[in-house]
Structures are given as C-alpha cells and as structure tokens.
C-alpha cells in the first residue's frame, strides 16, 4: 500500500471545481425538469380514470403485448402474444410521463436529460480526479462517499435510459436529491483530500465500499419508485372508488407510470441488488476479520447493515406472502431504505462506532 504519496493540491482543487460545475449543471437540469412538468400539465389526459371506468362497465379482458416485429399483412411472420394482467392487479395504462405528451414539455425533458448527462460527466470526472489526487480509492470520508453515491445513482439512471427503459419519471426527484446530497457534501461534510488512516487502508476498501455505495445508489432508485408507487396507488384507488383526487394529484400523478409498473420496477431493482448487498456485508465481515480480529462484533455500523439486510429480506418475503403484497410490502421497503440511510448519516455522525473515519 502506498501511503507516502503526497496528496496533490492542484488536482484536489480541480476536483472541487468539477464538482461545483456539476452542481451548476444539475441545477439547470432541475429547472429543465420543472419546465417539463409545467408544460406537461397543459395536457389533460385522464387515461387512468377512463381505463378504470371502462373496466367497471365491461368486465372484459386482457392487456396485449405486441412483440417486436409483429403483425404482417396477410401472413403472420411473428405470432402475437396476448398477455393477461397479473392476478388482482389493477390494469391501468402507464401515464404519459412528465411531458404529458406535449411537444414543449418533451423538448424540456430532453434538455433536462442532456444536462443530466453533462452534469454526470463533470461529477464523475470530479470523483476520478479526486482519486488521482489522493492516489487511492476516493472513499475515505463522507464527502467522498456522498459525491460517489450521487454519481452512481445518476449513472444507473442514465444506464436505464440508455437501455430504453421508461424511467424518465425519476428524473426530477433524482436530480433534486442529487443537488441536496452534493449541497450537504460540499458544505457540511467537506474534508480536505488526504490519505487514509491505516485501518481503512486495504484492498477490501475497494471491494466493500464500492459495492456498498453502488447498492445504496440503486436502492435509492428503488425507494423513489416505491414512494411514488404509494402515491400513485392511492390515486388509482381513489379513482377506482369513484373519488375525485385533487387537481394537483390529477395533473402530477396521472403522468406517472401505473402503480403496478412502479411496484414492479421497485421490486426488480431491490431484488436485483439484494445479493450484492449480502455480498457487501460479507466482504465487510471479512475485512473486519483482518483489521480487528473478529469478523462480526455487533458494532453500530454492522448492526445497522444487518438491520437493513433483514429489512430487505422481510420485504422480499412480504412479496411472497399473501396479504402482504402491495402497500404493506412497500412500507417495509421504505423502512429498510430508511435503515440504510440511518446507517450512513446517523451512525457516522451520531453514534460512536469503530467505523468512524478521519474528519467524518
């Protein structure tokens, strides 16, 4: 391990400049998303209500999925697959997205995404330059965790977009929280670029901390989807029961994907990351075994990782338990993410733990 390496002041300065620039661009992306939502509100679609009333009238049917390249003229060259809704699910179309199908809204939405790409590039560069300036993994203190955390969250979101997934609805909440995260990081948590204390200096740092940050970022996306699911689900419930949601709900929630879609997205994200989170904890235990002579000692950080893990296990169980699917499972997922957040902010700042780092 190289510890003698001097931290390079000018590179560290450059990293800060990059992070500040990314904040500026994220702010522009935030404004563009706002414009997208505002222009999108001019469209009055009301598809959900329509779909729900239709369902009441005709007890019929099915959702059909047209598989790619379907529909020849006379000869079917690819069969059409008809799918039915999952049992008990309300079959409501996904909302049209923030832009609400308006051209102007869509334009601003695209601008917002482009700006997000730029801001992401700047922020990622900031993280990399910081790593070069300290000649180690850029995860030695909370400032560094926070910047990497939001970089990864945005990166995963952009990767979803690139893969053609319908995730633009996450744009505004994500950019908003990224700005908050960076604001807190640069003001309250800022730590001069520096070397690590010996206990942190191990290749397990690369493995354990990188997966922890990645898990956190992805679980965050899952938590946003879960939260929106709860709102959208109440909205749909209200409509289905003949209620009239407020104008705000009708404008904003109407444009989100259907509750079932949000729920599925959240589940996939959470389930996909759960094995990695399990690995993260185990890697941490192995590291603790090397550093402190015991692989599990119920230290505050370990306790809260464990609680988070059990929380997500409970969530996955709830999804497989009759009577616990849907909203109840969603609450469990939110509590589990709350535990993750507490483990990050709460334990690092308020609870004394073996895992306290130099300068927060």
């Amino acid at each position: 391990m190289i510890l003698a390496a001097e931290t390079n002041e000018s590179l560290a300065q450059m990293s800060n400049t990059l992070v500040y620039s990314s904040m500026a661009v994220y702010t522009l992306a935030f404004l563009a998303h706002i414009a997208e939502w505002v222009f999108g509100s001019r469209s009055k679609v009301g598809r959900t209500a329509a779909a729900l009333t239709e369902q009441k009238q005709a007890a019929a049917a099915a959702v059909s999925v047209q598989v790619k390249g379907a529909g020849g003229t006379t000869v079917l060259d690819r069969p059409k697959v008809v799918t039915r809704a999952a049992a008990g699910a309300r079959d409501v179309p996904d909302g049209p997205g923030a832009a609400g199908g308006t051209v102007k809204g869509d334009l601003y939405g695209r601008i917002a995404v482009s700006l997000t790409v730029l801001a992401f590039a700047l922020e990622a560069a900031g993280v990399v330059v910081r790593a070069i300036s300290v000649q180690r993994a850029p995860w030695g203190n909370m400032y560094e965790f926070s910047t990497t955390f939001s970089t990864v969250a945005v990166g995963v979101y952009l990767a979803f977009l690139l893969a053609g997934k319908n995730v633009r609805w996450i744009g505004l909440p994500l950019v908003t929280t990224v700005l908050l995260d960076l604001g807190v990081a640069t003001t309250l948590l800022y730590t001069e670029s520096d070397q690590l204390v010996p206990a942190l200096d191990s290749y397990w740092l690369w493995i354990h901390v990188s997966t922890a940050i990645f898990c956190g970022a992805v679980l965050y996306l899952g938590a946003v989807a879960t939260l929106l699911y709860l709102f959208r689900d109440s909205y749909e419930n209200k409509l289905a029961n003949g209620g009239t949601p407020s104008g705000f709900a009708r404008s904003v929630l109407e444009r989100l994907p259907a509750a079932a879609t949000l729920d599925k997205f959240a589940y996939r994200v959470n389930a996909a990351i759960f094995p990695l989170w399990t690995f993260t904890i185990i890697a941490g235990a192995i590291w603790a075994g090397d550093a402190w002579g015991r692989y599990w000692g119920w230290d505050a950080k370990e306790v809260w990782s464990f609680i988070t893990w059990v929380g997500y296990a409970a969530y996955l169980h709830a999804r497989a338990t009759a009577g616990w699917k849907g909203r109840k499972a969603a609450y469990i997922a939110l509590i589990a993410f709350g535990c993750f957040l507490f483990n990050y902010y709460g334990v690092n700042i308020f609870v004394s733990s073996k895992h306290s780092y130099a300068g927060v």
Binding site: D194, W204, W304, I307
Partner: protein, 583 residues
C-alpha cells in the same frame, strides 16, 4: 422492446388461487400455503400441530424477521459489554435510574440476551421447519413431470395461437424438440406438449436458506471454541502463546487451554508515521510491527504485522491492536545503587499519545536509614511538548518530536501484595507518602530525555534515559468455524442469485386439427407473476416453432390493422376475467 397496447382488465375477488380446470400453476414454487383457517380443534396434538403450522408459515417468518431487526436496534444505541466495558461503566454511572431497568432487560448484552436469542432461535426453528418439507416437495417436483396442459390455454398470462398446414403430430414433435433444445423439461401429454424450466430458482432458494443455517452453526461453533487474548509487548521483548503470558484472556465455554497454538514471537521494532501537515496533521499513516516468530518447530521467521494484515500461525491470528511509548528509566537509591531499570509502557489517553502510567519499584530499594521500602512514580508523558508556558502537559503530535515526561514520586507501600488485583498503569497511593521538599511542596518535575530528578533527603534519583521504546499490543485470536462461515456465506450468495434471477415457468403447446382442416397451434406460458420476460420468451419459442409449422394465410381479415396505434383495442381471445395464479 415490446410495445404495450392496453385494453383493460381487472378481476375482483378471484386472486391468489388457481382456478379453472386444473392445477396448471400448482407447485410452481414450494412456498408454504397460507392457512386462513381458524384456531386448533383437536386437543393437545391439535394445538401442537396448529402451533407448528403457525411457526413455519411465511407470515410468522416475516414477523420474526421484523422482530429480529427491531431487536438489534438497542444494541447499537446503548453501550455493549461485549464491545466496550468502559463505556458501559460510564453509562451506568451517568444513568442511575435507568441502569437497573436496562440490566433487567439485558440491554447491555443485547446480542446474547435471552430475548434476542429467543427471536433468532425461533426464526431458525421456523426456517428448518420450513425448508425440510419444501426440500421434499421440491425433490418430488424434480422426480415428477410438468403437469399437463390446462383445457383453456387462453386463460394463462401469456398466450399465442396460429394456424398452420403442418400436421398436429408433426407440430407437437417439433415443439418437443424446440423446448428440449432450450433446456426445458418437456413431455408429450395428450394433444399437447408440457414443459417447465427454471428449477434452479427453487434449488437456489433452498440453498440460500440452508446456507443461513450453516452460517448460524458456524457462528455458534466459533463462539463456543474461540479464544482471544491480549498482550502488550515492548520493543525487544517477546511473547509466547501460553495462558500465563496473556494480559487478558477470554475464551468460549468449550475451549481447552491445550488447544493454544504453540508459537512465540519477539517484537523487533514498531514504526508509526503520522501526517505532518495540513488539517489532518497527526492522523496516523502507517503502523508496522516487525516481529521474529517461531512456530512449534523452532525455526525463526521474520514478519511485519500491520493493522489490516495479521500474522497467521496455524489456526491463530495475531492482530496489531494498539501502540504507545515506553520510556526507559533508571532508579537509584541513596547510595547510588541501581534498583530499577527498564522500559515502562504508558497508556495513551488521546490521539496525540499523551500518555500516563506508573513506575513501581517493588524490591531492592532501601531508604537512607537502610530500611526496605517501595517507590512509586506517577508518570505523565508527551511525545511532542508544546513548549514551556504553552499550557498543559498535552501532546501536540503523536511522534517523538519533543518528548517530555513529568514524574511525581512516592515512597511507602505499593500494596501489590494486598491480595487485590492491581492495575499496572495506576499507582495505589493510599499507603504511600509523596516526596516533598523541605517547606512542603511536592516533588514533580518535567524532564527531557537524559535528565535526572534527584529525590529529596538523599532518597535517590530517577533518570529519564535517552532511549524511548515503543510498545505494541496484540490480540491473538483462535476462532474455529471461520471456514465454515465463509462457505455458508458463499453458498448464500450463490443461492440467492439463483433464487432471484432465475424464473421458473411452464409452457404448453397444443396442436389440434381445426375445423377447416388446418392445424391450430396454441401456446401458453405461466410463470411467477414477477417474470416479465415470459411473453417475449413465448414469442421466441413460437418463432422457433414456425420453422416447422409456418402460419397458414388467414382466411378472414386480420384483427388488428395498425400495430403502432396506442389506442385501446378490443380484447383478444375470450372475454373473461383474468385468472389469478398462485405465485
């Protein structure tokens, strides 16, 4: 990507149940069925059976998981004896009213408390009670064959149909080949082919839960057989791994002393370096203990122990835990005879290694009248002194930049033989008198290395030698079961990955002669509700099958003219409420 054209569908009550003609979705997982029936009926046996069924139900497992995480919380907020006894003592002093309550609730030992143990033991009993029957069921499923096709395939979550000129026999044979080619377990069943894939999901899930049990066993094993001891070693000194050599030693209830690994080592040198400038000045950068160690066989080997790099000798690991300074002092009596000479390890009290300790001269000293007496010194040491008049004796930097030691001398009885265990770093002055100069002020002196403090009335002197040694403290742990725990962990991750990423699904292909003489091919798929890829996979299978069974031209106009339209289109197939499928 697929494009979704929606119509509408809902069902009201009919959820979570396989309805219709057959058990197409039966046994698609081995999850225990939820019992909604009321309480027990049949006496004691009935009660036991009822209790057992409750305990092994998913609902109770869920509640126990929830309790487990809730129960873990207080241990992270209240100091724990297992982690830091000093902190527990401080807490008890500060909260006199809470302490008895906390003690009763075992809140200072949450993770070994009766109630916490009860939660996880119940959870694991539930787990065993759950996976044993699930495993049998799964073995049965593996032995059996995929269930035959439901009568109405249109009811299933994914469905497709077309007509072809190829004969039904031919289509079924091709379907069997296509499905087997894609590693489905497939069989012909009447006029249809039934196939199933993704059994590894269940296997993975069972493996995961089994691995949890393995990890718990490994953990318990480690607790019972582990040993853990601490030893402080000054540079140049050695340690050999026997019980008497430890400063402190803990072991599990099943540990036998003869199980200690035979080895010894000498601390050749300790090196600590610290950040010299910047806001993190003083933050440690390297800690290295260079040692020479000998295994049972007597051959010397060199090694460097660092914070993250313990020395492994057989089953034991030697960890570097802490370090500090051990100034060398020489004490002489009034006649100039050396009565004590040695390195005195002092304990750090802050990050800059301001240290305190005691020097005890137990025998060999005689006062000016020739009467045997004991001497004791309270020592206060700073590696980097701020400078005279610069406030207190608190170190400014952890390295030996400007070492200063302050000593206060006492004579009398050290009470080391009083029967009470004595802290080597503290002086019991209850039977001692402080050396005083004439007129009354106590003798305390700040000294630089090389300086000597003369005790009043010809009582002798103490010299702070130029040589200042460092000490390091080590933890020697022997914890069996680590390998097993690791194996369990790896199996858990592997099983979990299989369980969450593999989808278990069934596909049926029915081919029958239609009224117009052509063959009607129907394909349907059924999976757990979370599997979104099912329709796509079904389409791909259908495409593969059309190689043998190409679609015949439609006699009538096709239903959907404009596949691009996002508008609702009339329902395909039969207009019935969709069916719930037990997931």
């Amino acid at each position: 990507m697929s494009k979704t054209e929606t119509t509408d569908a809902t069902d009201t009550a009919d959820t979570d149940r396989v309805t219709g003609d057959d058990a197409a979705g039966a046994d698609l997982s081995t999850a225990p069925r939820e019992e909604t029936t009321g309480g027990p009926t049949l006496g004691v046996v009935g009660w036991i059976r009822w209790f057992w069924r409750q305990l092994t139900s998913m609902r109770v497992a869920l509640i126990l998981l929830f309790l487990l995480s809730l129960g873990a919380v207080p241990g992270s907020l209240i100091p724990q004896t297992s982690a830091d006894e000093m902190k527990v003592a401080d807490f008890k002093k500060a909260h006199e009213t809470l302490t008895p309550l906390y003690e009763k609730l075992q809140l200072f030992d949450v993770y070994s408390s009766v109630w916490f143990s009860a939660i996880y033991i119940l959870l694991f009993v539930s787990l065993i009670g759950c996976i044993v029957p699930r495993t049998w069921q799964f073995v049965g499923q593996l032995r059996g064959l995929p269930p035959g096709a439901p009568k109405r395939l249109t009811r299933l979550p994914a469905y497709t149909t077309w007509r072809t000129e190829a004969g039904p026999e031919e289509v079924r044979e091709a379907a069997l080949a296509v499905l087997k080619g894609r590693r489905f377990r497939a069989r012909a069943a009447g006029d249809a082919v039934a196939a199933e894939k993704g059994y590894l999901r269940e296997a993975g899930n069972l493996l995961f839960h089994l691995a949890l049990i393995v990890m718990l066993v490994a953990f318990a094993w480690g607790q019972l057989f582990k040993s853990e001891g601490g030893k402080l070693v000054v540079e140049g000194d050695g340690f050999s791994n026997t019980l008497t050599q430890y400063d402190d030693f803990k072991s599990g209830s099943q540990f036998g002393v003869d199980e200690l690994e035979p080895f010894s080592f000498t601390l050749d040198s300790f090196t600590g370096t610290y950040e010299k400038s910047g806001p993190q000045r003083g933050t440690p950068r390297t800690f290295e203990a260079a040692v020479t160690y000998t295994r049972g066989d007597g051959k010397d080997e060199k090694a460097v122990i660092r914070v993250n790099e313990p020395l492994e000798v057989g089953d034991s690991k030697v960890y570097l835990i802490a370090h500090g300074y051990a100034p060398v002092v020489t004490v002489k009596d009034g006649r100039g005879k050396v009565v004590y000479r040695g390195a005195v390890p002092l304990l750090p009290i802050d990050n800059n290694i301001t240290s305190t300790g005691a020097i005890k001269v137990m025998d060999g000293y005689r006062d000016k009248n020739g009467k045997p007496e004991q001497l004791g010194f309270k020592a206060f040491f700073v590696p980097t002194f701020a400078g005279a008049g610069q406030g207190d004796m608190f170190s400014q930097f952890p390295a030996l930049d400007f070492p200063v030691m302050a000593l206060t001398g006492y004579h009398g009885d050290l009470r080391v033989n009083s029967g009470l265990p004595q802290n080597v770093y503290q002086l019991d002055t209850s039977k001692m008198t402080q050396f005083k100069v004439e007129g009354g002020t106590g003798v305390a002196q700040r000294m630089r290395p090389g300086e000597t403090m003369t005790l009043p009335d010809g009582a002798g002197s103490i010299t702070f030698e130029k040589e200042i040694k460092e000490w390091a403290s080590f933890q020697v742990s022997q914890q069996p079961g680590n390998g097993l725990a690791l194996a369990g962990a790896v199996a858990a991750i592997a099983g979990l990955t299989g369980s969450l990423f593999i989808h278990r699904r069934r596909v049926w292909v029915r081919a029958v002669r239609g009224e117009d003489g052509t063959t009607v091919v129907e394909m349907a798929g059924l999976g757990r509700s979370e599997s979104a890829k099912l329709p796509e996979e079904l389409a791909e299978l259908a495409v593969a099958l059309t190689a043998t069974a190409p679609p015949a031209p439609e006699p009538a106009a096709p239903e959907s003219a404009d596949p691009e339209s996002a508008a609702p289109e009339p329902a395909e197939a039969e207009a019935e409420a969709s069916e719930g499928v037990e997931k």
